[in-house]
């Protein structure tokens, strides 16, 4: 599509070594478009999504020395994006999945028996569309997106959202 992905050298991080930057780039760039999509779904605003994604790449590169090779880079960078989003919304460091977006504050979470899928089915009413997905509380929306769009395993989702596996299954899926 002719879109240039962020390169390590383009991110103004003076403390990162050239070696780290070179290792970072092949890991990070393949996720750029998917991260952007996820950021848009979180923020519902393209400008904010761009801001959060830029911050995410800078933070990820800064922290790259603490990344353990062989562990799940994708879960790590999605986690940083999500925490960046939640921090921007709340001003607090985010460590758990909570319904913090605007619609989440207006709307009670459904009973335990319900799942994101069952809520979507009710709201869709047999009609296909993106609006019901957009209207889900962020705690459910992000889980569905990670599972269905990003095709993450429950274990990966659990690592990304920093929640126990059991809660991933019960809460999100």
């Amino acid at each position: 599509m002719g879109i240039k992905r962020p390169s390590a050298s383009s991110l103004c991080v003076g403390t990162v070594s050239q070696l780290a930057a070179e290792s970072f780039e092949p890991l990070a760039t393949p996720h750029f478009e998917r991260l952007y999509n996820f950021a848009c779904w979180l923020t519902h605003d393209r400008q904010e999504a761009e801001d959060r994604l830029q911050e995410t790449y800078v933070k990820t590169l800064k922290e790259f020395c603490s990344f353990q090779p062989g562990t799940n880079f994708r879960a790590w960078i999605y986690k940083i994006l999500r925490n960046t989003f939640l921090t921007a919304r709340t001003g607090l460091k985010a460590t758990a999945t909570v319904p913090l977006d605007r619609e989440g504050q207006k709307e009670n979470l459904p009973a335990i028996k319900e799942t994101p899928e069952s809520i979507l089915l009710q709201r869709w009413g047999g009609q296909f569309g993106q609006q019901p997905l957009k209207q889900l509380p962020v705690a459910y929306r992000e889980t569905l997106l990670l599972c269905e769009v990003e095709e993450m395993s429950y274990r990966e989702i659990s690592a990304t959202l920093a929640i126990p596996m059991g809660r991933t299954v019960n809460n999100g899926l």
Binding site: M1, G2, I3, K4, R5, P6, S7, S10, F32, E33, Y36, N37, C40, W41, R46, A49, E50, Q54, Y57, T115, E117, L120, L121, W124, F128, G129, Q130, L133, L144, L145, C147, E148, V149, S153, Y154, V169, L173
Partner: protein
């Protein structure tokens, strides 16, 4: 109606997240049970709908240039 005993695990089944043994047992049941197979199919279709509708936003070339 989905079999009550298996209802709770239907989403886990269609996500392919059951253990190998559970998957074999569940799979055999779904092949025999019309209600569970219908519900499993509905969930698979919904997963595809979410996947399609979830892939929505593409970064602009301006943003790509800005990042560069």
């Amino acid at each position: 109606m989905v079999c009550e005993s298996r209802k709770a695990k239907l989403d886990t089944y269609v996500d392919g997240e059951l253990s190998e043994q559970e998957m074999r047992i569940f799979d055999a049941h779904v092949r025999e049970c019309p209600s569970c197979s219908t519900n499993a199919l509905a969930r698979v279709q919904m997963k595809r709908l979410i996947q399609v509708s979830g892939k929505r936003f593409v970064p602009s070339s301006d943003f790509g240039r800005q990042i560069e």
